[in-house]
């Protein structure tokens, strides 16, 4: 039996990717970059599921990843449509341009 990859290392990688995405979400103000950081975070969460599923040799972790993948695809379609509307209205991609509500 060859040496397994410790589950902790996989989870640490997922956590590190999640943290990078989170820091990027907080730091960048361009709305496209914020969306990409959300994608990184979703992917890291899915990676944690796959690592756990590989540890217990079950298919459940991969099914959770499939749910996250579906959700990310639907989210990115709606969010990019929102980005197009945002740009059409404000002529910029700065998320701070929409800091006031009309109401």
């Amino acid at each position: 039996m060859m040496a397994h990859i410790p589950m902790e290392h996989g989870l640490m990688l997922a956590a590190a990717l999640f943290c990078v995405g989170f820091v990027g979400l907080l730091v960048r103000r361009n709305i496209l970059y914020m969306l990409m950081c959300v994608e990184i975070m979703l992917n890291a969460a899915g990676m944690a599921f796959v690592v756990a599923g590989s540890r217990w040799e079950h298919a459940d972790g991969q099914i959770m990843y499939l749910i996250i993948l579906t959700m990310a695809a639907a989210e990115v379609a709606v969010a990019l449509a929102l980005v197009l509307r945002f740009y059409r209205q404000f002529q910029t991609l700065d998320a701070d341009a929409a800091n006031t509500m009309r109401g």
């Binding site: 996989g10 950081c37 599923g53 991969q62 695809a73 740009y87």
Partner: protein, 171 residues
């Protein structure tokens, strides 16, 4: 051999950090695709080949193409030609190419070798995943289809042009 996992992890981390620090959107998209491909290799090493294929096709393929389409729609004007020339400078593509070449080298080693580059993780075959997906998880399929349909309708509704605004400007 665990080195495959650790090298791919390093590539994923480095390219993700580079992706969120680039100033040019296309550069960071290139790094982002590299990071997703590295994640795909990690999934393959972890014994999830179905998920690895899905990550490459759906994430690195479809979702990133959506991003590229939006960037193409936003960057209009005469300065795009100058920008296009600047994007073809070696500084733009040499970093992602090197990182992707590392991944490609690992894939070639895995394909050519006798499996010694893979750790001894038990592979969960696509068949098992599919049996579980259409057995106890059948509700998930229904939920996913509804989610995708609502995403489609939402994107269509948000993305359409306002017909009344142009008429107001004309009058």
């Amino acid at each position: 051999m665990n080195a495959t996992f650790y090298i791919a992890s390093s590539v994923a981390l480095v390219s993700t950090i580079l992706a969120i620090t680039r100033l040019n959107a296309v550069h960071s998209l290139l790094y982002m695709i590299t990071s997703l491909l590295a994640g795909s290799l990690i999934f393959f090493v972890l014994g999830a080949p179905y998920i690895a294929a899905l990550q490459t096709i759906v994430y690195a393929g479809a979702i990133m193409v959506l991003f590229i389409f939006v960037i193409m729609m936003l960057n209009q004007g005469p300065e795009t030609a100058v920008q296009e020339r600047a994007w073809l400078a070696p500084g733009a593509w040499i970093g992602p190419s090197l990182l992707t070449a590392t991944l490609f080298f690992q894939v070639v080693l895995i394909v050519r070798g006798d499996g010694s580059w893979l750790p001894g993780t038990k592979v969960v075959e696509p068949k098992e995943v599919s049996i579980a997906l259409f057995g106890p998880y059948i509700l998930v399929i229904e939920l996913a289809s509804m989610l995708l349909l609502s995403g489609l309708i939402g994107a269509y509704h948000l993305g359409r042009r306002e017909p009344d605004r142009s008429e107001e400007q004309r009058s």
